[in-house]
């Protein structure tokens, strides 16, 4: 099973600065398995949502052109210590993942 994602939140005033790394192969579907010679099927995160205390703040549509183990950095206003940032993603195989962290 894949590793969970990593999230790091720093707060400057009421701005939550959120960085995350998601462990996902983000296969393009153009790569060949060097051993078998077969194409590795495309497997990438399509949609991602970021929520602040349950309310959606950011909607992301990704493609196979986003790097493996994708990184995302965004900023949310009106954040206080104790607030929750939740991430939910879905890939083209309908697998899902996500994570949650607390603003300090």
């Amino acid at each position: 099973m894949a590793d969970p994602m990593r999230m790091r939140i720093t707060r400057k005033g009421d701005v939550a600065d959120v960085k995350m790394l998601i462990f996902h192969p983000m296969e393009t579907g153009y790569r060949k398995n060097t051993v078998t010679g077969e194409i590795v099927p495309k497997h990438f995160i399509k949609t991602l949502q970021a929520m602040h205390n349950g309310a959606t703040v950011l909607e992301v549509e990704w493609s196979r052109s986003v790097s493996r183990n994708p990184f995302l950095h965004f900023r949310v206003n009106g954040a206080q210590a104790g607030d929750k940032i939740t991430i939910a993603w879905q890939d083209n195989f309908e697998q899902t993942g996500g994570g949650e962290a607390v603003v300090k």
Partner: protein
Amino acid sequence: MQRNRIRLAALIGAVTGAILLPLRALAAQWNEKAFDETRFPDALKSVGALDLVESEQIELKTPEIAENGAIVPMQVTSNIPDTEKIHVFAEKNPQPLVASFTFRKGTQPFFATRIKMGESARVHVVVLADGKYYTISRDVKVTIGGCGE
């Protein structure tokens, strides 16, 4: 009802980490047509971008020469008021549309991520703000490693 519950449980079971996923994530929009386009002008059309105006109010940070085309760090800040969406294109990728970001109220029109570029190309950033489209673009060189591998 029973079937949905089983399906839901299986999906939740597939998630690492102990959080309950909002079902909204499963129904999230993904502009399939735009992401499948193979030509940049078509991809622009498919995201609805028309009458693009070049704008210096979009800050785009990209490398001059990408160290490795598989992992090109980029960062965008839109200083255009009422920015609602930002799209990223790598003109010469097999499918030029790389990513789209939709910002709800209270979220800064800013993001950083890392993208793949198959070859040297122009990276275009398109901003939708107050119903209008703005853009900025920059060339990013990508070279294939020599003896580096």
